[in-house]
Symmetry: C3
């Protein structure tokens, strides 16, 4: 997971292709603790890109999964009371095992347990943070990092801020964790705190199926089994953008879109994913 | 939410068209506490008609959702122990916030917690009750209202009584709550205790996909964000009947039906939904 | 449920056709306590073959379901803390009611609660055990029966051993419970401890959709409402193999496969399922 001296578009494209290929070859397992709304889609998306899935709720199972998986996905939706024990013990085990993990701070701002757990992750740092712009800004504020603005307020699982508005927050979070941050939106933003990639593509239908964002987080965890955090987040974003475009061409609505989207995740080649358009900027100071 | 002096078919059709249009325009959020079997379909159906979804399990999150949402959906399937606290606190918060909410008494008769919670809803009244005929009759009996007959017994999530058999129970329940009751079946019955609408349409495949009824309840909650309870329940019933008919024409079985059904919910226009056939009767004394 | 004096292929084919036909005719309910990842697919597969579904989590609801259902399905994925009470009380109720039940030991080896519950099932015996080869071998080892080899270790929900490797373990388990064991793989193995059927068919896509195995277990429970354990397990295996072959012909990836697969389960006739190829061997001593 050594970084190249200088991040270049061509270097990133090569690493994206390699991540897609390695996952198809090695079938790495990225276990999840995730919400009950979209848990099936998370698993099926992980399988479609070539990974392996396993979902748990209990503390000692979270610890076992931290040892067994190559990386882990933790989603903050539909919390249950026993998560108060499960999540801290799981992320401690991930730290001990030096395994990467992805957090999706869905619902940030709603309820005491979620706030308490997310505050704990300020110290027990996730490797990749994935969310929409509102969630990323809210997390930077919760962690008292530079968020660039005041949060637009909680609005369930929907984005209310444009991705560009989360640029400062995303860079702050990435610098704090030393990992990567992926912000989903019409234009996606992925950063490691030094470089920022803006990725195009996707589909108008993606926000109309529940779990598009959650499953992207699960897929990022699969790629984090074989690639550095920034590359893993960017590969997940790129394959989602590619599959979204592909699926929209034949979709008649959100449900036929979801079917075509998962099929497209399954059929996407390293070359197709590596060719997805993105621009690269320096994050600045 | 002022009632027109006299409920007429033409007036209702106008209000149905308006409800469909307003939801597409305003994207209102109707959060849910709902079972894990069909939670994904509930969310996707709510999104397909133009609403926004958020699912929670914890008491303080239920209270937060009562404040954030325009209306709420509570489904009694797959209860977990902590619902003993979550549901009463959530419905209290809904009452304080004067927010409408829909209850689906699925599984009524099975287990002590469900019975205890449903008994509590006799006082903390739901705005819309949605169920099949057996469930509606059982709820009227549990609340010691006129059910018109003795219940046909519990049978999981399946209907064992024809909708017409639930007419007395539905009217009793609507008069008790001051809201609306929707009974799903080959012919659907929707009443506010004064008028009864019998709606036609739908598909033989609807009872063959799990969650057809649950998701109708979630969609009724979305419409309850913008319309009076009777109109909201009737609009949800009408769009389900329209989408069911549309989907059956291209379905090869229940799974391709579900895909086509969600696509049809997404594409249905106010005019198409408002034109769905129904008859209107006076409920009588 | 009286056994024929001698198990023959023609006799089994007749019983398979009869099981498929009886379920379509009687619509028997096979309730489940099952994981949140694939719970929707389990229910929809049970409905597609003609059964009825109901899912619960609480102890007294498990007991109620043991009384109401014709057979029950218990899947060990995504355990929650209260399962420590729910599962033992449910299986006691099943024993008292003399109702058949299917267990799927998914995740065996992960976590203390799962191990403790599965150890308890050594005494409170399931009627049908369904798993992949690794799970079947691990369960035989956990129960200190002849497993034929040492387990290949835990690997989430994936098979790491070929089905043939689980032959000894499957026969040991079936002889211990007096019921049947179904091992899923490219070639499926079904045994009652005396005869072993090896069934062909299915699809490369089946392992690429999450819940193919879980839902097979749920469907086996539906058939166990109307047929002896060995026939029920073999019928579920045969209809899955038939539907898998049918669906693969039109699938463009795993998601369109899943849709076509459920449609094919719905449309499969007794003759088509009864005609699925299998070979029959004597289990030996």
């Amino acid at each position: 997971m050594k970084k190249t001296a200088k991040t270049t578009k061509e270097g990133l494209r090569r690493e994206i292709r390699e991540a897609v290929r390695l996952v198809r070859e090695k079938n790495p397992m990225a276990p999840s603790i995730t919400n009950t709304v979209t848990i099936n889609l998370v698993a099926n998306a992980q399988l479609a890109v070539g990974g392996s899935a396993a979902m748990v709720y209990l503390a000692d199972e979270g610890e076992a999964m931290a040892a067994l998986g190559g990386a882990m996905y933790i989603n903050m939706g539909t919390l249950m009371p026993f998560y108060a024990e499960t999540l801290p013990r799981t992320v401690k085990a991930l730290a001990e095992q030096q395994k990467p993990w992805v957090v999706d701070p869905v619902g940030i701002g709603v309820g005491g347990l979620r706030t308490s757990l997310l505050l704990g992750f300020r110290t027990d740092k996730p490797t990749i943070i994935r969310g929409n712009a509102s969630e990323i800004i809210a997390l930077a504020e919760l962690w008292e990092l530079d968020s660039g603005k005041k949060s637009g307020g909680v609005r369930g699982v929907d984005a209310t801020d444009p991705v560009e508005a989360a640029r400062t927050a995303a860079v702050s979070l990435a610098r704090h964790t030393g990992g990567a941050v992926a912000v989903s939106g019409p234009i996606d933003l992925v950063t490691d705190g030094k470089s920022i990639a803006f990725a195009e593509g996707g589909s108008k239908f993606l926000p109309m199926i529940t779990g598009a964002g959650c499953s992207l987080g699960g897929v990022a965890a699969v790629y984090a089994c074989v690639a550095a955090p920034f590359v893993a987040a960017l590969t997940a974003t790129a394959i989602y953008n590619f599959a979204g475009e592909t699926a929209e061409k034949i979709a008649k609505g959100p449900a036929s879109f979801q079917t075509a989207f998962l099929d497209a995740l399954y059929r996407a080649t390293p070359e197709e994913v590596g060719a997805q358009p993105f621009t690269l900027e320096t994050a600045g100071k």
